[in-house]
């Protein structure tokens, strides 16, 4: 999985989060989050379960609402204004742990649905785009099947292609490989690595440390709803600064 060629990162800001706080009821899940993501950056977010990492990236496309602070995605601030939310959502692709493909639609229909209804792309054009991305994730022959007939790894690659069909500028990955059998993890990671090499801005919640070392230019470690440590991958894995990070790394890399 090694990919020594340095990938480009620009100065342009893609996501800016300032002093953001979120509560579930009275439970303080995200505490004083500050982060800036430049266009082209590939960030891996890790941390123990319940640390708020999924919640953080779900706030970026407003699947979760934040109560305090500011999130600006691609120059649009996320508030309760539905127009802004729809604008951000059509620019930001999201890949879920459980794929969330639409089981009543064929693979091709899964891919063309949003372009046709949200972007108002003509059907033919949407289908061409869909086939292009299905080729890219290497399963064009499955276009006419239903999600239930595909393996987990194939479904997750379809889910990635579905997001790409909307031509997003930012991709969010919420534990994309944790529901997969070990032999299927690689095919999904390979797809993600290819995407990174194309210069996509990516935020990825994952425990795949190999992936982090191969493509990430920053690793963020979260615990108890806050960012504990962030660094470039080599430093992060070889010389972790905080004790909490050291403990976490020893647990996941220890065996």
């Amino acid at each position: 999985m090694a990919n020594p060629a340095p990938l480009p990162v620009t100065d342009e800001i893609a996501i800016q989060i300032t002093a953001m706080n979120k509560w579930y009821g009275s439970f303080h899940v995200l505490r004083d989050i500050n982060m800036t993501v430049a266009r082209g950056e590939r960030i891996v977010i890790c941390g123990p379960s319940g640390s708020g990492k999924s919640t953080l990236i779900r706030c970026i496309n407003r699947l979760e609402e934040h109560q305090q602070g500011q999130i600006i995605v691609d120059g649009t601030e996320l508030t309760s204004d539905l127009k802004n939310i729809d604008k951000v959502r059509s620019e930001v692709g999201m890949v879920f742990q459980h794929f969330n493909l639409f089981p009543h639609l064929t693979i091709l229909e899964n891919l063309t649905l949003a372009p046709i209804w949200v972007r108002k792309v003509p059907r033919r054009e949407a289908e061409e785009t869909a086939m292009y991305f299905l080729n890219k994730v290497k399963i064009p022959e499955q276009a006419a099947k239903y999600p239930g007939q595909l393996s987990g790894g194939q479904q997750q690659r379809v889910a990635i292609a579905r997001s790409l069909c909307m031509r997003p500028r930012i991709m969010l990955f919420d534990e994309p490989t944790s529901a997969l059998d070990p032999e299927m993890i690689k095919e999904v990671l390979d797809t993600m690595i290819e995407l990174a090499q194309d210069g996509m801005t990516m935020l990825c919640v994952t425990h795949e440390m190999g992936f982090a070392q191969a493509v990430a230019n920053r690793v963020i470690f979260m615990d108890q709803g806050q960012i504990v440590e962030q660094n470039e991958p080599k430093e992060f894995f070889n010389h972790p600064k905080s004790d909490r990070t050291k403990l976490f790394l020893s647990q996941i890399l220890g065996h």
Binding site: L63, D86, R89, N100, H104, A114, G148, S163, M166
Partner: protein, 479 residues
């Protein structure tokens, strides 16, 4: 001695033993798998034989021609001996039209026939949207049956030719461009209203214009004001049109271009015509209302949520009979005296509400069965609320709810017999009582109930089989 073994010849496949295949296996497994089951099988066969032995002579001795029960009895006594019992189906023969049309004027029977034919045409693109072969067969059968049925009732010759050509034309459209038939489905409610009740053609056209106005308001304002406000303005505009403008425009249009059918009053409706008018319109309207109520109950908006819950719980908590009495008696007290609010219309509205409340709960079950990820994926792709509901949520939720929805519909259709309590002549009690009060048929008992029951069974069984077909068709998990 060594354990080495080498097979020199491969074994050919053999049939299973005779007790493990075919009919013998089926009988062993299903009828005589144990002493208890063998005993129950014997008992069951005996019971069925006894019932058939009791009722078969009565059915076989049935008489189809005659003008009174006494004629039937005389004919049976002459053919099968003085003690033989037999069914007197002659009653159905004599009163067939009354069971079907109630007191609808006989010279206008072609109008209900045409309405029924168009109903099947209108249903074709909805029920068999992606099965052209079945749709074509259905349309052909409907066209042939309609022409036959129209030949049996009184109507002017030119009209018969026109209707036959129309049905053939619809069959042609249905086979060449099935998508076009959806226009028949959309216009059908207005056409039906006009065909059955008659009157000026402008009344249903103005009613239709109200819906066009609603759609226009929505499409013009949606982009600027958002979905909720655009829908609200559209509904207000349509209501104003219906209440204030539509009637005047219809009257003046009728004065300029008079065109209409002979009006038929609601009290002439009866028999299966009445059951189907109430049943079909309630089924068609209650499904969309049920969907909206189910969504309202899921809504985060306090007012919509409370109103939906209140409506559903109130309607489900009150017996249908109570609501029918409300429809026939109370509603009139609350309306200004000059307002004539048709009884059938009132009954349809309340039966619709009743079944909508049940449908809402069934669909809510379907919504609850949907994983949260489906809603999130739709949101993450940028679909708005109505797009997500229409394209992602409802196709899946309704699919899960099909058995429940069809149960509600079957229940509703059978409940249409309850309208007898507000004085409408439905077939089971209304028409049957009238027939049995006739001096010629006094004393007849089983035959009308068997006949009416058989038609209800056919309709309900048809719905049930269609729902099974739909479930099989929509199954996408493993092929």
């Amino acid at each position: 001695m060594s354990d080495t073994f080498i097979r020199t010849a491969m074994l050919p496949p053999q049939l299973p033993p005779v007790t493990e295949r075919g009919a013998v296996k089926w009988v062993r497994e299903n009828l005589f798998s144990s002493w208890l089951n063998a005993g129950l099988t014997v008992l069951g066969v005996a019971a069925v034989t006894y019932l058939v032995w009791l009722s078969l002579p009565w059915l076989i001795h049935g008489v189809w021609n005659g003008n009174s029960l006494n004629e039937c009895r005389a004919s049976i006594a002459a053919n099968f001996g003085p003690d033989a019992g037999g069914a007197c189906w002659a009653m159905i023969h004599a009163r067939w039209y009354q069971f079907i049309y109630g007191f609808y004027p006989p010279e206008l029977y072609w109008r209900p026939v045409l309405t029924a034919a168009l109903m099947f045409v209108a249903l074709t693109p909805i029920l068999f949207s992606d099965n052209r072969r079945v749709a074509a067969i259905m349309l052909a059968a409907v066209a042939v049956l309609t022409i036959l049925a129209l030949a049996l009732v009184q109507m002017p010759a030119w009209l018969f030719v026109l209707c036959s050509l129309g049905m053939t034309g619809l069959f042609y459209i249905g086979t060449e461009a099935p998508g076009r038939l959806i226009w028949v489905s959309l216009l059908y409610p207005f056409l039906t209203f006009w065909l059955l009740w008659g009157g000026s053609v402008w009344t249903p056209i103005m009613a239709l214009a109200g819906f066009v106005l609603l759609a226009q308001c929505y499409s013009l304002l949606n982009a600027r004001l958002g979905v909720v406000l655009a829908t609200a303005i559209g509904i207000v505009a349509a209501c104003l049109w219906w209440l204030l403008v539509g009637g005047i425009v219809a009257a003046s249009a009728q004065a300029l271009l008079p065109f209409g059918l002979v009006p038929v009053e609601s009290d002439r409706f009866g028999g299966f015509l009445l059951s189907f008018v109430i049943g079909v319109s309630s089924i068609a309207i209650s499904l969309p209302i049920g969907i909206l109520l189910a969504l309202g109950r899921q809504s985060n908006m306090f007012l919509i949520h409370t109103l939906s819950v209140g409506f559903i719980e109130f309607i489900r908590g009150v017996p249908l009979i109570t609501m029918l009495f409300t429809a026939s008696l109370l509603l009139q007290y609350f309306l200004p005296p000059q307002v004539q609010f048709d009884l059938i219309l009132r009954v349809v509205i309340l039966v619709t509400f009743f079944s909508a409340a049940y449908n809402a709960e069934v669909i809510r079950g379907g919504l609850a069965a949907l994983p949260r990820g489906q809603f999130e994926a739709a949101d993450a792709l940028g679909l708005d609320y109505w797009q997500a509901q229409r394209l992602i949520v409802m196709p899946q939720a309704l699919k899960v709810s099909i058995p429940g929805i069809v149960s509600t519909f079957i229940g509703l259709f059978k409940d249409t017999t309850l309208v007898t309590f507000v004085g409408l002549q439905e077939p089971l009690r209304g028409i049957t009582t009238i027939v049995r009060a006739d001096i010629n048929w006094k004393g007849i008992y089983w035959e009308p109930y068997i006949f009416v029951g058989a038609i209800f069974f056919a309709a309900c069984f048809g719905m049930s089989r269609y729902s099974l077909y739909l479930e099989r068709k929509l199954k996408t998990d493993h092929h």
